[in-house]
Every structure is written in C-alpha cells, then in structure tokens.
C-alpha cells in the first residue's frame, strides 16, 4: 500500500448509470498505481463545503481511477455536474482495504456498495475466481451488473421488488452459496443492516468475512476521531477509525 497524496486531478469521463447514479473517472496515474481494493478517496466538492466527501474506489485501469456515486446532497450534486477537463482536488488513496483478494472470493454488495467491490473482484480474478451477489431496491437502481458479469464466474442479482433477478435480499443466494463451503473469503459492502446479516450468515457457515463500513468523516486520515465505529478484539472494545483502521474490517471484530 503506497502512501496517500493530496493533489489536483483532471476529470476524463462522466457517465450517468441510473437516474441519480453517476460514474466519474479521473486521469490520476499516481493514485491508480497506489490504490488497493476497499480503499477510498476524499474529494473536495467545490469551494463552499469545508469537508471533503469520501468515495470507495470502484475501478482502476491504465492510470485512470473511477468512483461511482449517488447524488445525495450538495457535494455529490456538484460532482455530478462535472465535465471532462474539470480539475478536482483529491486526497487518497486512504484507509485499509480488503486483505483477502486471493483464492476463491465471494463479493456481496448492497446498492452502491457494489461499486468498490468491482475493483476487488478484478483483483481477485487475477489470482483465482470470483462470484458476486448484488442486491438492489429495483431494476432501475441496478448498476454495474454488466461489469461484474465480465469479471465473475457467476453473478446473482436480487431486488426487493422482484423487478430483476431474485425477489428478496442478498441473504437468499448467499446462504446457498455458503453451503458449498468453497469460498476462501466473503467481501461485503453496503448498508449496515445488510453487512450485519452477511456477517452473521458467514459466521454460521464458518466463512471468513470482511466488511467495508461507512461513517461521517472529518479529516479522512485518522487524526480527528470523528469517524469511529465500535470494534472488539480479544475481548477489548475500541473505538476504531473507519477512515484509517478501516473502512474494511474483519466482520467478527465489528460490534454491530
């Protein structure tokens, strides 16, 4: 893992993937060469917002770095309004990524949690095999499935309303896949409730599970202690920094 750096990079491409979901790509060879799956970048979204916005790194390819994001508030709105050529201030890559990307990997994503898993899936593909379970609210929110299909052995899509793939949550295919006992690790990212249930299913099946968490951030580098989540190791509870000790944690260590 290379050290982080703070610099200005040029937008090379912006695409709309769903109604309010965009992908943005930067010409950033220095970031791309250092990035590890599960790490994030901290982006300055305009002048009037003092805090940077954190986004998981979704793809890295030929000196370019991509993040996929949903428009939520002012910062993401500013980012979505970018055009190629815009100069954007980025700090990264930050945090601790997935440690298990070798072997037979199962990635489990909920909503835009799928984004950083794409980078992880590509990495896993280099040394072994990878299967994906992706859960969305409905077909109009289902993004990146084509990209996963080009990288994975199998892609199982679930939607809450049954408009695409299986109706229900990621728990359904996940339970079946875990029964095969052939995965060396499960990598997950998505809403906290989903991560918790994935962690429980993996625990029961005796599978190793890593979870990428989200928390509101200040510095993004580990200095201000605003982004904590409770973790437990050897019986000792700690307030760990999502930005530095995470965002990826061993799921057994998270106090859900």
């Amino acid at each position: 893992m290379g050290a982080a750096l703070n610099s200005v990079f040029t937008v090379s491409d912006v695409r709309r993937l769903a109604k309010s979901v965009f992908s943005i790509t930067f010409d950033a060879p220095e970031l791309a060469s250092r990035a590890e799956p599960g790490q994030f970048v901290h982006i300055k979204c305009g002048h009037s917002r003092p805090l940077r916005r954190p986004f998981g790194i979704s793809d890295v390819c030929g000196g370019k770095l991509t993040v996929v994001f949903e428009v939520r508030g002012e910062g993401t709105k500013w980012l979505a309004a970018s055009a190629p050529g815009r100069r954007v201030d980025i700090n990264g890559p930050l945090g601790r990524g997935f440690s298990e990307t070798n072997g037979n990997i199962l990635v489990v994503g909920g909503g835009l949690g799928a984004a950083p898993l794409l980078f992880a899936a590509r990495r896993a593909r280099e040394s072994g095999g990878v299967t994906a379970v992706l859960g969305f609210r409905g077909i109009s929110n289902a993004v990146l499935t084509d990209k996963f299909e080009s990288v994975c052995y199998g892609v199982f899509v679930t939607t809450e309303d049954g408009s695409s793939g299986l109706r229900g949550t990621v728990a359904l295919p996940l339970e079946e896949l875990l029964k095969t006992g052939k995965y060396s690790a499960v990598l997950s990212c998505g809403p906290r409730a989903m991560l918790k249930s994935v962690a429980e299913l993996c625990e029961r099946a005796g599978a190793r599970c890593e979870a990428a968490l989200e928390e509101r951030m200040g510095c993004g580098v580990g200095a201000c202690l605003v982004c904590v989540c409770k973790t437990k190791k050897n019986g000792v509870e700690t307030m760990s920094r999502v930005c530095r000790d995470g965002p990826v944690f061993d799921a057994r260590e998270v106090v859900w």
Partner: protein
C-alpha cells in the same frame, strides 16, 4: 530556519519558549502528528498540539460525531484518547524526533487531576501544557471549569504548582465576559492563554427530526467562527499582558495575519487541515508572503498591531 532569503524573521518567543514560526496545529485536529507526517515534515511547523489527554483512557461519545455547517463543522468527539501514560510511552517519542515544539493539551474532572497530568507531562519533556477548561463535549470538567472565573483560577493555581514547564489556559468562547476569565488565569500565574475553543452548537435532521450528532450538541469550528475568534482575542489582548495563542477559523495566511493583528502571538490551525492536509504549511507561507509584500521584518511586530477606532 527562522530567517529566509528575504530576511524576514518568523521566530516567536512565547512564554519564554522559542518557536521557529508562529504556526501550530490545534488540539484534536492533528492527532499525535503521525497521520499528517505522511503529507509534510512536522519540523516545518512552529509546534504541534496533541489531542486532549485525560488521566485514564477515554472512549469518547457515540457516533455520529460530526455535522457539516455553512463554512464550518460541529464535532462531539468527547475527548477520546489513550490516556496520559500511554501518550508518554507510545506517542511522545515520535513527536520528539521532530524539530518542533510539543504542546500537550490536558483535560481533567478535578483540579487535582489536571495538576497530576501536568506534572507527568512536564517531566516527560513536553514544551508547554495547554489546560483545556473549555471542552463542550464532556459532562464532567471541561467547559464547566472554563465558564467560571473562580474555577479557572482554581485549576490554574493547581496546575502551576505542579508543572515544570509554562502553563497556557485554553479559554472557552461560551462565556459572556472573556476578559474576566483571562484575568483570572493571569492572576494565578498562567504563562499564556489560548483561544478560542469551539462554540456550542446544534443541527437537526428535518427528515427524522433528530439531532445530527448522537451527543445532540457539539462544538462549532472552521471558517465560520473566525470573526468571533478575532473579537475575543482582541478583547483578551486588552485585558491581560501574557501572550495569546489565537485560533478559530483560520484558513489562510491573510486570516492568520488578521489574528496576529488582533493580538495573537502564535496561530493555531485546526479544521483547515481537514480541508487541506497541508493547510498549516500554506498558512505559514501565506504569513511570510504578507510580510514580504508589506515590508514587515519580524512576525512578532504584527502582534496586537490593529489600530482600533
């Protein structure tokens, strides 16, 4: 180097301690220096101020601990730290490797606790003790002390008795008369004061009708508080003779010059580092640029230089 090629003098002698330049990091925004050391050489700073230390380790408040505000932010960290002994053993040796001053920020629940920590830390080799009587995010101690002149006097007296290094009292802006509190600290022998700590604030999520912070309230920092900080530093400057470490909303060299003119001798940079990891260095360079452009030979000549109406 305090004199650069254009012969400007950035050195500041503060409470008898020499700082190579007037820029220090503000407590709680810079950890114990390790993280930002990946972005620049800490020896470039006048000094580093540590996260607030307590006698025993503290977990702090539950998350969310941060809310963005117009040109600022609220935090409710609640003094999460490993405790003073762990700091001395695991963190201080790292900071001592750099050619920069180390300011240890302490918070206690009683005057006695403050005094005990000051004794340990001054024995361990920190340069200055910053006594935080102004944390808005803890129930015991903290701001309870800082809003009463009598309590500030009591804590100052206790710490002065046991500290082997200069003692600086960090004042709360959540008071009606900052001059009275500053005088109380000076009266008991404080070597300096620092101000301002964060302003107590709140934000509410209108969808859930719940506070954004799990602690309900938090401390406001960042550019939004600069005018309040300037006003209070100016008032404190007129009330006491001891030097002032000014902070609150400084994001540029020009902001820092304003604060020096208001009466500060050193400048603390906090929230600005979240926006730009190299902010403290840019601010130092911004002060130097102002001095060159305006023919100011020594940065200490700026302190208190405002000509009030």
């Amino acid at each position: 180097m305090s004199r650069d090629s254009h012969n400007i003098d950035m050195k500041v002698t503060f409470a008898g301690i020499e700082f190579k330049n007037p820029v220090v990091t503000a407590s709680g925004t810079f950890g114990f220096g390790r993280e930002y050391a990946e972005y620049f050489d800490l020896s470039e700073l006048g000094g580093v101020c540590t996260k607030g230390l307590t006698l025993k380790a503290r977990q702090g408040n539950p998350p969310p601990r941060i809310a963005e505000t117009p040109m600022g932010m609220l935090n409710s960290v609640g003094l999460q730290n490993p405790g003073v002994d762990a700091f001395i053993k695991n963190e201080l040796p790292f900071l001592k490797k750099y050619d920069t001053r180390v300011i240890a920020n302490i918070a206690g629940e009683t005057a006695e606790e403050y005094a005990e920590m000051a004794q340990k830390l001054s024995g361990a080799g920190v340069d200055i003790i910053e006594v935080n009587v102004s944390c808005p995010n803890v129930r015991e101690g903290g701001m309870q002390f800082g809003v009463s002149a009598r309590a500030v006097a009591g804590v100052t007296r206790a710490v002065k008795r046991r500290s082997g290094v200069p003692v600086m009292i960090k004042l709360s802006p959540n008071v009606t008369d900052i001059a009275e509190i500053a005088r109380a600290a000076e009266g008991e022998g404080a070597d300096a004061v620092s101000l301002i700590n964060t302003l107590l604030g709140m934000r509410i999520d209108i969808k859930t009708r719940r506070p954004v912070l799990a602690n309900n309230t938090g401390g406001l920092s960042g550019a939004a508080i600069l005018p309040v900080a300037l006003r209070m530093i100016w008032q404190a400057r007129r009330a006491v003779k001891i030097p002032i470490l000014g902070m609150g909303g400084v994001t540029s060299g020009d902001d820092a010059v304003e604060m020096l003119l208001a009466g500060a001798s050193l400048i603390g940079v906090g929230t600005a580092s979240f926006t730009h990891p190299g902010a403290a260095i840019d601010i130092r360079d911004g002060i130097a640029a102002y001095m060159r452009e305006n023919g100011v030979a020594a940065v200490s000549d700026l302190t208190g230089g405002v000509e009030a109406y």
